[in-house]
């Protein structure tokens, strides 16, 4: 049973992935995932972030039924994790791509297509999609890390899945490969599908994700949209000439709480929704405004703040 959330933010609010109190212990001392409540909505790209060893991959493995939770529940596409009915609609790349080294890339996909019950013609389609057709006849053991990663994504796309689970898909990819990966993910999302993406590349996540969840020591510490995360710091950045005059004028405007010059720009503490009035006030005072935008913290800044500086 797929549940619906009460949120209405323009996106579909049906939860395709939902966990409740999901916990995984290894022995008595190690808790890899601790009471995790996670929700991935239909049609979104969900970024799953966390430092090394935070429990990201363990969570994804539990969602695929590869490992069993110690307690708690998870539903994926309305099914229990690991059931054939659910897996038939999920494409996944978990951790490093693992294939048969003695088989070519094409034959590896043929094997996976047989397991998935997918028509063999899909193999060539996904090879083209990840731009691996030219090397598809080479043995997997001869592939570079980037090519292995592409093959892993190709295997994940084989079933034309409703939900794509990608664990560090940009690992080992060069800049073009990373751009291609972003294009693939955006393409998948453009088809109305859902992507659950775990990554340590914050820049990548920032560019393609609609929402992120940050996991720390097995616990989900935050789950918000990118807009919500960025909007937490209220303020505007203004590029204007002369800058000193702009600062003086801004301080006198009723919408502005504070105005400071930094790095050749004016940083104004104010509600970003009042940007038009502030702009008009500056222009009317004879200040030439060439840029005015809300202050946005980078995901890295937010991540470091949330995780207390633990390495991603």
């Amino acid at each position: 049973m797929i549940s619906e959330t009460s949120q209405t933010d323009g996106r579909d609010n049906v939860l395709l992935v939902e966990t409740s109190g999901l916990t995984k212990h290894y022995g008595r001392r190690i808790t890899a995932v601790d009471d995790l409540d996670l929700g991935v909505r239909r049609g979104e790209v969900y970024g799953f972030l966390g430092p090394n060893g935070a429990g990201k991959t363990t969570t994804l493995r539990m969602l695929l039924g590869l490992i069993k939770p110690s307690s708690g529940t998870a539903t994926v596409l309305g099914e229990e994790p690991g059931t054939p009915a659910g897996l038939a609609r999920i494409g996944a790349l978990v951790e490093s791509p693992a294939f048969y080294p003695y088989l070519s890339g094409r034959d590896n996909l043929r094997v996976m297509a047989r397991y998935s019950g997918v028509a063999p013609s899909r193999v060539e389609e996904v090879l083209q999609q990840v731009e691996l057709s030219g090397r598809a006849s080479d043995k997997f053991k001869k592939y570079s890390l980037g090519m292995k990663q592409r093959l892993g994504v190709a295997a994940a796309l084989l079933k034309d899945p409703e939900l794509l689970i990608l664990d560090e898909p940009a690992n080992g990819l060069d800049p073009k490969g990373m751009a291609d990966m972003r294009a693939i993910i955006r393409g998948v999302r453009g088809e109305g599908k859902t992507v659950l993406l775990s990554s340590h590349l914050l820049g990548e996540v920032e560019q393609i994700c609609d929402r992120i969840g940050v996991i720390l020591r097995g616990k989900l510490v935050v789950e918000r949209t990118m807009e919500e995360l960025r909007g937490r710091e209220e303020g505007l950045l203004v590029r204007a000439e002369p800058l000193e005059e702009a600062a003086r004028v801004a301080r006198d405007l009723p919408e502005v709480e504070e105005a400071q010059m930094a790095d050749g720009m004016l940083r104004i503490t104010a509600d970003p929704a009042r940007a038009a009035e502030i702009n008009a006030g500056l222009v009317n005072a004879g200040v030439r405004v060439s840029e005015l935008r809300p202050v946005e913290r980078s995901l890295e800044e937010m991540f470091l703040e949330l995780t207390g500086g633990e390495t991603v």
Partner: protein
């Protein structure tokens, strides 16, 4: 199940290690099971009778020696094809099957491909039993290969020796094929069981070979006539493989240096082997289904 079975067949067909094992098996049958024994039996040293032995006794001794050589040589003739090939299957064939079984499952853990397979569609038990079916199909081909190649070699030996060519009956051939398949299957299942238990290929092969060669091969190979010691043989995998193979042999194939074992018929040894087979496969399936895939 069908689609997963086809996936497993494709993997086996394309895997060089499977062809290497098949080639070793082929070379073993041709060279070690037929060519070398033939060379040995055809060139057995004939003891020179001393001069003080009467002429009639000398010719009688020569006739006895020739009869002994011919009896040994007759093992290689087509009429003894089933028993002779089975005796090789229960020894070297079993060892190779153990290695194959360990490779088929253990490599999935080593390469980490299990997570890729199980993230596709099949349930765990479907994936496991598809693997077992494909392994079984490969083992049937191994048995067929042994019988076909053995048949050709026996025909050549009979031709060279100008012996009459008498083939075993179709029933005996089919029974032999079945017995060979059971023997190889139970050894392969031991490999699968160990590989699943230890999630490793090398440890599974190492332990399997230790059991087959050191434990069963050495201990039960000792010429100990103690009744309890001999009775214990009826419970062991390798011994029952041998008993099943020996049940096809006539007196000409009994090896004089091996102590007589307990009186175990084909049905009893086949039953013991099938119980081992079922236990190995079921325990491995349970472990495969229940354990986390790291």
């Amino acid at each position: 199940m069908g689609a997963s079975f086809m996936a497993e067949l494709l993997k086996l067909y394309k895997r060089p290690a499977v062809w290497v094992i098949a080639a070793i098996w082929l070379v073993f049958v041709v060279l070690l099971a037929y060519a070398l024994p033939y060379a040995l039996f055809a060139n057995l040293p004939q003891p020179e009778p001393s001069e003080d032995v009467p002429a009639e006794m000398q010719s009688e001794m020569q006739a006895q020696n020739e009869a002994a050589s011919e009896q040994l040589m007759s093992q290689l003739y087509p009429e003894n094809l089933v028993a002779y090939v089975l005796s090789n299957i229960s020894g070297t064939g079993g060892t190779l099957a153990l290695i194959l079984g360990a490779l088929v499952v253990g490599s999935e853990y080593g390469w980490g491909t299990l997570k890729t397979v199980l993230s596709q569609r099949p349930g765990r038990l479907v994936a496991f039993f598809a693997k077992m079916l494909a392994l079984g199909a490969a083992l049937v081909l191994f048995v067929l290969l042994a019988f076909v190649v053995g048949g050709i070699c026996s025909l050549v030996v009979a031709g060279v020796q100008s012996a009459t060519v008498d083939w075993p009956s179709l029933v005996e051939l089919l029974e032999g094929l079945g017995a060979g398949a059971v023997i190889l299957a139970v050894w392969a299942a031991l490999g699968v069981f160990l590989a699943t238990l230890f999630r490793s290929t090398t440890l599974a092969i190492g332990l399997g070979l230790f059991y087959a060669l050191a434990l069963e091969g050495l201990i039960f190979g000792l010429p100990i006539q103690n009744e309890s010691f001999q009775d214990a043989r009826r419970f062991f995998l390798g011994q029952n493989s041998g008993f099943l193979a020996d049940s096809f042999a006539g007196s000409s194939l009994q090896q004089p240096l091996v102590p007589p074992g307990p009186d175990i018929g084909a049905a009893q040894s086949a039953l013991v082997l099938c119980l081992y087979l079922a236990a190995f496969v079921l325990i491995a399936a349970l472990a495969f289904r229940q354990r986390d895939v790291a």
